[in-house]
């Protein structure tokens, strides 16, 4: 019985909700780190040729950062909702699991879209190398990738905010 009790304590409602918040930050953060890294590598190559383009290349490098920031938003939305900062709400295991599942859409899409956006931005760096005046087009095509992270974030936020018990 003791083992079951430990399990019950580990998977308490609150802990599951925190796991959800954690996954939203961690996965999207991993994705963003990788995405920003990919662009950074490409950008260094460009800047070594033409240091004047550092500012422009930094705009492209900053694009895959947003997924990580959205992850932070999703996590804090959950943390605010379960009242960790003020008065913690009592959650059953299934109620906690609700938050964990709510966090999943963003956690997964945030991870993958940040990496993909990093790749498009890195390609944008190549575009910048040949046509330094075409930054706008490079940014726009990279920004398209972010759309799906935004959709997932909205679903996560809506599910959290319409939660009936907290």
């Amino acid at each position: 019985m003791e083992f079951l009790e430990i399990l019950e304590q580990i998977f308490s409602g609150q802990n599951l909700a925190i796991l959800g918040a954690g996954l939203a930050v961690a996965l999207s953060g991993m994705g963003s780190a990788k995405g920003v890294g990919i662009v950074g590598e490409a950008a260094s190559g460009l800047v070594s040729e033409n240091p004047k383009l550092f500012g422009k290349s930094m705009i492209l490098q900053a694009l895959p950062m947003t997924q990580g920031v959205y992850g932070l938003v999703a996590a804090f939305f959950i943390i605010f909702k379960i009242g960790l900062f003020t008065e913690p709400v009592e959650l059953t295991t299934s109620q906690g699991a609700y938050f964990l599942m709510a966090a999943l859409p963003y956690a997964l899409v945030g991870y993958s879209s940040a990496i993909k956006q990093g790749r498009v931005s890195a390609a944008g760096i190549n575009l910048l190398a040949k046509r330094p005046d075409q930054l706008g087009k490079a940014v726009t095509s990279a920004a398209l990738v972010e759309t799906y992270a935004i959709f997932a974030l909205i679903i996560t936020l809506i599910i959290v905010s319409i939660c009936p018990f907290a």
Binding site: V73, T140, T147, I150, I158
Partner: protein, 648 residues
């Protein structure tokens, strides 16, 4: 809010008045000079050859560009706030001798720079030589190493750790003797004296021990004397550099004149580049270009004064004139956003004005915060005024300034004050428990999206709906103007009937709603295939036309990003405030508050400006423009005098 009407300008002028004419045109700043085709006017024309002049002008400009940054570094002139460019009469500058005088200064500075470089190279060569001579310092023989009739003298290095005994053993019975001069961590330095007949053999023996011959070409003294001589030379060179630097410092007094000269030379390069675009017969030259209609009067008045024949006419059908956007003082700041996508095609609709209004609102919704908006507004308007930016940069800053105003307005409506800074301070530092009830003002005049994300989503989608319908309305207008009234009604009007039906559905109930939607659907099914002949294909195409509903739906959903970006800045701001006010109203607490808010809000501001800018632009480019926009315009670029440092 329109695309300026362009006129085509063709000028024929005697070859010897070309210079004068180009000068005038540059001063006028209203002509975009284009390449003259060789069969213009039906004659066979040849390009005028200015290659030599051009490379000369580029060389001169390069010289000024070499000198300018150095003199700026040495100059004691204070950098001024604001636009420091002064109006200088350039012709007077040339005629009163300043031009020539300044050129002398530039030549002087350039030769100083060259000499400094030479000295520096010499110094580094000398220092290298000193380093390689140092092990030989105790070697009392002149390094010219004169051989006698019978003996050879050679110096070299051997691997570290080589002992005299090893060498003696290797040389054996040969008539050769080796002295170890010095040792250091890397090598043993030796000198070898041998009988001429045994030299080759001795060298062979020694090289098996790792002997490498060293020579110092050009050194004809003993190492000690050579090092002393080199040190003296380095000192001399250093003092020469100092003198030259002092000279440069005194030359930097003429910095302002040199800047004028830069603009003059840069303008004359522009002249040459544009002259190269012209073509000529034996006596006459032809120039073609574009000028906006509103400047034509001034242009012809100016051309009348010159010895030339000109013609200003409407563009022919096959020609594509360049595009000059013409907008009011608010919207012109948004032209670069349009330009980032692509300029509109000549003669099509200029979306800048309508786009600027939506841009203003959508940016504000995405970034609804009074505090951040204030920072944006102040920076957007104050920085260009203080730093003296070019017109282009100034406009992009001003655009963000206007967007900041929108952010402030939306911040009051939706309750953003650096996130929730007022409440965070009241609750965590001043100890007011129910701050939100006592001061509801800071929670937004309407509602706070943090508490009501669903309502804000509806607002975002509603704004999106208006944006999309505005885009469709522009297409409607364009079609009607082209006389395709039926196309406008069938392709766009029928969708509006469907959209209206959805509205009716919610307002007047299901039946009237369904009927209205039904009318719209029928309009599409029966008209979408109107260009087909076969009745079956007509109907099939009509039904397929309904498929566009998916693209309208996805366009509309795309506006939900307004919610995501709005919440992103608000939530992160809130967390920063929480961290800042956590320690309560103590001294440490205030320090934490200032640090956390300063650093945190700056970062939040930076990342959200980028996000809001990128996503607002995207909504314009993809959702709005694709309803009507005809892109592919070639921007109009008038020839202008260079005004990098001075105003002409």
């Amino acid at each position: 809010m329109s695309i300026s009407i362009m006129k085509k300008l063709s000028v024929i002028t005697p070859k010897d008045s070309v210079d004068e004419m180009i000068k005038r045109l540059i001063k006028l700043r209203c002509v975009d000079v284009r390449n003259t085709e060789s069969d213009e006017c039906g004659y066979l024309l040849e390009k005028m050859n200015y290659d030599v002049q051009r490379s000369d002008a580029e060389k001169r400009l390069a010289e000024i560009e070499r000198v300018l940054p150095v003199l700026t570094k040495y100059s004691s002139r204070m950098s001024k706030l604001g636009d420091g460019r002064m109006k200088i009469d350039r012709e007077e500058f040339v005629s009163d001798g300043s031009f020539k005088h300044t050129w002398e200064k530039i030549e002087a500075a350039d030769s100083d720079l060259k000499r400094i470089n030479e000295c520096k190279n010499r110094i580094s060569a000398d220092e290298k030589l000193i380093v390689s001579l140092t092990p030989w310092i105790d070697y009392g023989v002149s390094l010219r190493l004169c051989n006698t009739d019978r003996a050879d003298l050679v110096i070299g290095s051997m691997p570290a750790g080589t002992e005299q005994s090893d060498i003696d053993e290797a040389l054996g019975e040969l008539y050769a003797s080796v002295d170890i001069v010095s040792r250091d961590a890397g090598a043993v330095y030796v000198s070898l004296i041998s009988l001429k007949s045994d030299t080759d053999e001795a060298a062979k023996k020694l090289s098996s021990l790792g002997f490498i011959r060293i020579s110092f070409p050009g050194v004809d003294k003993t190492p000690k004397k050579a090092i002393a001589f080199l040190n003296e030379e380095v000192a001399q060179l250093n003092s020469e550099i100092e003198n030259l630097t002092e000279d440069l410092r005194s030359l930097s007094e003429y910095l302002s004149d040199i800047e004028v000269l830069y603009d003059i030379e840069n303008t004359s390069l522009t002249e040459i580049i544009n002259k190269q675009k012209m073509a000529a017969t034996e006596d006459c030259a032809v120039l073609v270009g574009w000028a906006p209609q509103m400047r034509v009067e001034k242009l012809s008045a100016e051309l009348d004064k010159l010895c030339c024949a000109y013609e200003i006419e409407d563009p022919s059908e096959t020609e594509t004139p360049p595009v000059l956007l013409n907008n009011n003082r608010f919207s012109e700041n948004f032209e670069w956003v349009v330009g980032m996508y692509s300029y509109p095609k000549y003669g099509s609709f200029d979306p800048t004005f309508i786009m600027s209004i939506f841009y203003f609102f959508i940016f504000g919704l995405m970034f609804a915060d009074v505090g951040y908006g204030l920072v944006l507004t102040v920076c957007g308007f104050a920085l260009p005024a203080l730093m003296g930016m070019s017109e282009k940069t100034k406009r992009s800053f001003n655009m963000f300034g206007y967007c900041g105003i929108s952010s402030m307005i939306m911040g009051v409506i939706f309750g953003g004050w650096f996130g929730d800074l007022p409440y965070a301070i009241m609750q965590n530092m001043a100890g007011i428990e129910n701050a939100k009830e006592i001061y509801p003002f800071f929670d937004g005049l309407w509602f706070n999206p943090m508490d009501n994300p669903m309502t804000f989503l509806v607002v975002a989608l509603a704004v999106g709906g208006i944006h999309l319908i505005a885009g469709m309305a522009i297409k409607f207008y364009i079609l009607c103007k082209e006389g395709k009234v039926f196309d406008a009604i069938f392709d766009i009007g029928s969708w509006w009937v469907i959209f209206a039906g959805i509205g009716v559905f919610f307002v007047f109930g299901a039946l009237p709603g369904w009927i209205t939607v039904g009318v719209g659907v029928a309009m599409i099914v029966f008209t979408h295939g109107r260009h087909e002949k076969n009745i079956v294909v007509k109907l099939l195409k009509g039904i397929l036309g309904l498929y566009d509903i998916t693209s309208y739906a996805s366009d509309l959903l795309s506006y939900s990003r307004i919610l995501a970006l709005g919440l992103a800045s608000a939530v992160v701001g809130q967390v920063i405030n929480l961290i800042g006010t956590m320690s309560g109203a103590t001294v440490g607490g205030f320090v934490a508050l200032i640090l956390a808010t300063l650093i945190g809000h700056t970062l939040n501001l930076a990342i959200n400006i980028l996000g809001s800018f990128v996503h607002t632009s995207r909504l314009q480019y993809l959702e709005f423009f694709n309803k009507f926009y005809e892109d592919g315009g070639d921007p109009f670029e008038a020839v202008e005098p260079s005004e990098e440092y001075t105003i002409d």
